[in-house]
C-alpha cells in the first residue's frame, strides 16, 4: 500500500515570499499524485494533479508541483504567495499497478500568510 509524508506541518510566510511544501510518497509502482487545498471554512478542493507526461504540472492560482520519480517526491511551489493562500494543503497519492486506487493523504500542511 502507498503512504504519504508531508514534512512541513506548519508554515508561516509573509506575502510575496516563495513557497515550497514537501511531499514524499512510498510506493514502488506507477502513481497518480494530487495536491488538495482547504481554505478556512471550505471543502477540500483539487489544486493540481499529475497522471503522466510532463513532470512539472501547473494548477490553479499560480501553484505548480514537480514530480521527481527518483526522489518519490511531489513538492508544491508558488513563487509569490498571497494572504488568500492561507489554507491547509494536502498531498495525496493513488497507486496504480496493484496499489490502491483510493487516494492516500498526508497529514496536511497549515500555511499562514501574513499580509
Amino acid at each position: 500500500a502507498q503512504s504519504v509524508s508531508q514534512h512541513n506541518h506548519h508554515v508561516i510566510l509573509s506575502e510575496a515570499a516563495s513557497l515550497e511544501l514537501g511531499c514524499n510518497y512510498s510506493y514502488g509502482g506507477t502513481v497518480n499524485l494530487f495536491w488538495y487545498v482547504q481554505y478556512p471554512g471550505q471543502h477540500l478542493q483539487l489544486l493540481l494533479k499529475y497522471f503522466s507526461g510532463d513532470p512539472l504540472v501547473k494548477g490553479i492560482k499560480g501553484f505548480e508541483a514537480e514530480f521527481i520519480k527518483s526522489k518519490f517526491s511531489f513538492n508544491l511551489r508558488k513563487p509569490s504567495v498571497q494572504w488568500s493562500d492561507t489554507a491547509e494543503y494536502f498531498c495525496a497519492v493513488t497507486g496504480l499497478s496493484g496499489g490502491s486506487y483510493i487516494p492516500t493523504f498526508g497529514r496536511g500542511t497549515s500555511l499562514i500568510v501574513h499580509p
Binding site: T94, I102, P103
Partner: protein, 114 residues
C-alpha cells in the same frame, strides 16, 4: 458548480450514542467515499462505495461503522456506540470515475464525542 453537501456541520454526542452523518454527492457521480481526520493527524480513508455496495474499506472501518445509500441521493455514515476516539472531522467525497483518484469533497462534519 455542483458540490458535495454534508450535514450536520458539527455534532456533539455522548459516548455510546449512535451518530448518522449525511452526505449528498454530486448527482452524476458513481463513487462515494468517507474519510476522517482526527485533529492534527492524517486524513484517513474509511470506506468507498460503488454500485450500492462497499468496494473498499480500511482497518478503521470495523463493525462499529456502516454506510448506506438509502434513497439514491443521500450517502450516510453510521457510527454505532461512539467512543471518545471517534471525535474527528468526517469528510464525504464523490467522484465520477473510480480509477483516477480525483475526488470532490464536502465541507466535513465535525463530530465531538464527550
Amino acid at each position: 458548480e455542483p458540490e458535495v453537501t454534508q450535514t450536520p456541520s458539527h455534532q456533539v454526542t455522548q459516548m455510546g450514542q449512535e451518530v448518522i452523518l449525511r452526505c449528498v454527492p454530486i448527482s452524476n457521480h458513481l463513487y462515494f467515499y468517507w474519510y476522517r481526520q482526527i485533529l492534527g493527524q492524517k486524513v484517513e480513508f474509511l470506506v468507498s462505495f460503488y454500485n450500492n455496495e462497499i468496494s473498499e474499506k480500511s482497518e478503521i472501518f470495523d463493525d462499529q461503522f456502516s454506510v448506506e445509500r438509502p434513497d439514491g441521493s443521500n450517502f450516510t455514515l453510521k457510527i454505532r456506540s461512539t467512543k471518545l476516539e471517534d471525535s474527528a472531522m468526517y469528510f464525504c467525497a464523490s467522484s465520477e470515475k473510480g480509477l483516477t483518484g480525483e475526488l470532490f469533497f464536502g465541507e466535513g462534519s465535525r463530530l465531538t464525542v464527550l
